[in-house]
């Protein structure tokens, strides 16, 4: 993977708990363009976290990301908040697009909670450039609203809430009355995404019109031990509770590409040739999971029978 070296050229801590970084090429060259809604995986103090790019993606001179400080997270966001300083260099992967606007949509309905606003800022900028019909519904905690001025400038149909009840009422009304051809984009905590997609589905939204950007999965339970066999070598071993398949394979010297290690990015996908899979990731589609021939080794686990991975 061609890693980008990026230098921190600005830090904005105006909004409580949220640090906005401007990252640029050390020599001042333009950075690779990206599809609106893309994210980069940033190496932050030994961890790798995915952050949405907030620009419109067209020949950017800088990447701007906003990082919410997660006090009880794995430590990546704390490192960015507490350790990273102006002028420091960070390593990041190339922009990955997993939340792109559907260009033939008649309208784009963006629904964001908290720091989930970041990919929507990118969508709004691109929508403004190309004259797309875009509506934004945004809820944030009082005093914790990022990009409030920016989104107000970028969109004519922007509705910002701090009260859950008023937000829910407007959301339901919006979901119930969108012109045919509208696509829905949701970003926020997992429970928020479940609420919005549940409401949309009850109002008849088909899956193909609903697009999600997850922050990451909830903390997962350690799971049960299970047996794994590596198809190429025949090696068979037990993956203990609390240890991921990915970690066990790495410990045994297998090289498995990985990035986020929390079931989001899709990098550590392994082909499965036999055995049941307990899927716990956010990456594979329902159809993929049903097919049962691939496992996200960082979070998903095997069942009672032996899980054979095609390594």
């Amino acid at each position: 993977m061609n890693t980008l070296k990026l230098v921190v050229t600005a830090i904005d801590d105006t909004v409580g708990g949220i640090r906005t970084l401007t990252l640029a090429d050390p020599d001042g060259n333009p950075l690779p363009s990206f599809t609106p809604g893309s994210h980069i995986v940033v190496e932050c103090g030994g961890k790798a976290n995915a952050y949405s790019l907030t620009g419109d993606g067209n020949s950017p001179t800088a990447y701007v990301i906003s990082v919410l400080r997660c006090a009880d997270g794995s430590g990546g966001s704390r490192w960015i908040h507490d350790e990273l300083a102006l002028g420091d260099t960070v390593a990041a992967g190339p922009a990955r697009s997993a939340f792109a606007p559907v260009l033939r949509a008649r309208r784009h309905l963006l629904v964001a909670a908290g720091i989930g606003i970041t990919p929507m800022v990118s969508h709004l900028r691109s929508a403004q450039t190309w004259g797309r019909d875009v509506h934004l519904l945004y809820i944030h905690r009082q005093g914790r609203g990022a990009y409030l001025d920016t989104v107000a400038e970028l969109g004519q149909h922007v509705s910002i809430h701090t009260e859950r009840a008023a937000f829910s009422a407007e959301l339901l009304a919006a979901l119930a009355d969108q012109p045919f051809g509208t696509h829905l984009y949701v970003c926020g905590p997992a429970s928020f995404i479940d609420d919005v997609t549940g409401a949309a589905t009850r109002l008849g939204w088909p899956d193909s019109r609903i697009h999600l950007e997850h922050f990451g999965s909830e903390a997962l339970d350690p799971g049960e031990p299970f047996t794994t066999r590596v198809a190429s070598t025949g090696e068979e071993f037990v993956v203990d509770a609390g240890v991921s398949l990915l970690e066990e394979l790495e410990r045994r010297g297998f090289e498995v590409p990985s990035l986020c290690r929390r079931g989001v990015c899709g990098e550590c996908r392994l082909a499965v040739s036999a055995g049941t899979i307990i899927h716990r990731d956010l990456y594979l589609t329902d159809a993929d999971k049903e097919a049962g021939d691939a496992v996200m080794s960082c979070v998903s686990r095997g069942g009672a029978d032996t899980l054979e991975v095609a390594l």
Partner: protein
């Protein structure tokens, strides 16, 4: 060699009469029924929707089954276009009739922005096909099966009906089956 047809562009319902239940996940429906057989299926769908949602959100359009001409699909597309003017997300299209007419209506619906998971198709028969001649561009409508040969109505080339159907036009790809045989010397 005949491929696994489920992996081609030919939908399962274009190969065998297929009768799925109504899509009850929507909030409003347009049902287009071609011919009397299509109307039977439409009535079943309306009953299924009524038992869950009530009938008010259903619009039924009965069209000719197009066995004689294209008029059935033309009026179906007209009705669909009119319904979409004020449709909201949550709307579904269900169509029942000969696979040939459904393929054409599906193409038109796709062009109007209807997604695959917003369409339900019931096919009442799969005997007729519209075949696009890749040599002259004409389309020929006939009672013909996949892998059979029919003469192009315009250029008279012998067209093999290939297992590819255009999502846009609903026509099967037909190509000259004897292109590599030496031409007969006219006597």
């Amino acid at each position: 060699m005949r491929p696994d047809l489920e992996l081609t562009s030919v939908p399962v319902w274009a190969l065998n009469p297929t009768r799925p239940g109504a899509d009850l996940s929507g909030r409003a429906w347009t049902i287009i029924a071609f011919g009397p057989h299509g109307a039977d299926i439409a009535q079943t769908w309306i009953d299924q929707i009524a038992s869950v949602h009530g009938e008010s959100a259903v619009r039924l359009h009965r069209c000719d089954d197009g066995t004689q001409c294209d008029d059935g699909t033309a009026s179906a597309i007209e009705a669909l276009t009119a319904d979409l003017v004020d449709a909201r997300v949550g709307w579904r299209l269900m169509m029942a009739g000969p696979a040939d007419a459904c393929l054409r209506l599906r193409g038109a619906a796709g062009a109007l922005g209807v997604a695959d998971d917003e369409m339900t198709v019931a096919s009442t028969d799969d005997d007729a096909r519209t075949v696009h001649c890749v040599h002259c561009g004409a389309v020929t409508r006939a009672q013909v099966q996949l892998d059979q040969v029919l003469p192009c109505s315009s250029c008279a080339r012998k067209l093999l009906v290939y297992h590819h159907v255009s999502r846009r036009a609903g026509t099967y790809l037909g190509f000259m089956v004897d292109a590599e045989q030496p031409a007969e010397v006219p006597s």
